[in-house]
Subunit: 217 residues, 2 copies
Amino acid sequence: MTARSSGRHRKQNGASVTVSTSSTAILFVGVQVPRLTDARKELRRTQIAAAAVRCFSRNGLERTSIADITAESGLSAGSIYAHYRNKADLVRAAAREVLAKRADVIGEYAAADAPPDPDDLLSRLIAAIDPAEARVGVQTWGEATTDPAIREIVVDMTDRMRAMLHDCVTAWLVKVEHREPAVAREHATPIAHRVMALYQAELLYTALRTPIEVTTS
Amino acid sequence: MTARSSGRHRKQNGASVTVSTSSTAILFVGVQVPRLTDARKELRRTQIAAAAVRCFSRNGLERTSIADITAESGLSAGSIYAHYRNKADLVRAAAREVLAKRADVIGEYAAADAPPDPDDLLSRLIAAIDPAEARVGVQTWGEATTDPAIREIVVDMTDRMRAMLHDCVTAWLVKVEHREPAVAREHATPIAHRVMALYQAELLYTALRTPIEVTTS
DNA sequence: GTCTATACGATGATAGAC
DNA sequence: GTCTATCATCGTATAGAC
């Protein structure tokens, strides 16, 4: 992740802004703002990554060729390599995106005012599973078993998710079950662990049992 | 599973048997027995599959080349292709072997006289996990998301395992908890489901957190 | 059945024009 | 930045001798 900063907007305050090819644009003498084009660059990256995820969902991480991604994204090979150093880099980005999206879903419930009980929490998490992303998620698990970079991403995201679940369960124990915060945190650990495990199993189940939807376009 | 029949034993009834290179050996006029060499053939197949599993454990399903397997098995490419139609065929065989081994472990406990309670059952299953096989197992999950043949194998083995767990839990409910067999079977279903889920999660955990052991030879 | 050597296809990645 | 065209590499699978 050597991603650089980003900016945005075509025009700013109605003033016609000269976009240079350097990393910063000089609006007035001595005034520099982050390059507006950087946001586009980041947008392109996510656009490419999204296309890649769709391909991965259909054909798997390794069976997806750069040609597949060019077809899916509408861009060319050269353009893709202008945004990602190589295919492994793109795979890492896609893995992060998919796993982060999962973590975000958990984060929403974890931050709720009325924390759901563990069963309810699990039910909601399962209901939010997207089959296509579940497939890519499981693919990243497989890749993580041999690729250190992917493993780090997966382990990191998994730990983060577990921590969020722990917070959520703790909040439920304190607010609803009226336990002492200290004991709540302790009791929450094995519960969060189980919710996580059951969620992962359900993710696997969805990835295996849900038919691959055909891209309609 | 289009596994063919197999013979065994080097000698039969003390009679010295002439081993021909044809698919059947003619002992006496008109009397044919399954070729004794078939056992050897099957042995070679498992030998190759075992070498493949070791490679997969280190480098993954797709990153493992035929050259890797020749190096690991000590055989040549030609020899491997004499026993497996193609690489996909070999991968399927390896997947079956690994997943079946897992099912066997469960079968042992399921058939025990004094059925362990669910927690104990899970503990034993977890204790029997082999890190290298866990990795290949998780890899098959990833592959199953896009390869129909692998998916069928994984789903089949998973269902079989779950059924065994169901039998085990039912036996425990009947023999230890003294429930009626009918209600026991019904109550066993969600419990078996959970044991399975927690086992799968633990398998994933092991696959991700256990360092890849270096082949010492 | 097993080997060596090789053909062929696929794919990741680059060069250079625009 | 994006394209087209191309290269070089790698890996599956086969051919043919032993």
